[in-house]
Symmetry: C2
Subunit: 111 residues, 2 copies
């Protein structure tokens, strides 16, 4: 994902997922990450997603949802749950998942 | 910053800043970005910061603050305002700044 997500006016929900990786399963992880982004797009109440992993290994993915229910439902999709298990068992050294309510937004586009 | 921020129990404020860069001023930008992270650490009410820019050019920085007032005050620090001006005039093609209230957190650390 190489662009800033275009989202409706707040309020809506942002799920900020920050992680560091182990050195295990790079190919399987990359494949699952791409697939999860596609899966998110198919869910009811999905508004957008932004994802970046820096050269130092820290990854941040922010997904945007219409409401808490939509955000929570994606976490319980069976295919997503299976990937979450691999994440805890193999791929992630650490992570934090923060569920947030977006209150104000400012956007900018250069001329 | 290569680690997941360690933050107190919610509620607190997250400022999610997502951007794409122009091709201008790479060195000056990198220097300013590093300096702004250091400056954030010095502010009252600062709780943590996470930052990543992916190979495709999308950058995500999430800063965490005790409350709205602390988050807003950092935006008005003079040195930060000067950097914001350079950001709009030169460095950013697009950005979105989303002010959020963190409601729930789940963390993980591998054994």
């Amino acid at each position: 994902m190489s662009s800033v997500a275009s989202t409706p006016d707040p309020p809506y929900v942002a799920v900020v997922f920050t992680s560091t990786r182990t050195d295990k399963g790079r190919e399987a992880y990359d494949e699952a990450a791409t697939r999860m982004i596609a899966l998110a797009h198919e869910q009811p109440g999905f508004l957008g997603i932004e994802s970046a992993r820096g050269a130092d290994g820290l990854g941040i993915t922010v997904s945007y949802w219409q409401d808490d229910e939509a955000a929570g439902a994606f976490g319980r999709v069976m295919e997503h749950r299976e990937v979450q298990r691999s994440g805890r068992d193999e791929w992630y050294a650490t992570f934090a998942l923060r569920v947030c309510r977006v209150e104000r937004v400012r956007t900018f586009e250069a001329d």
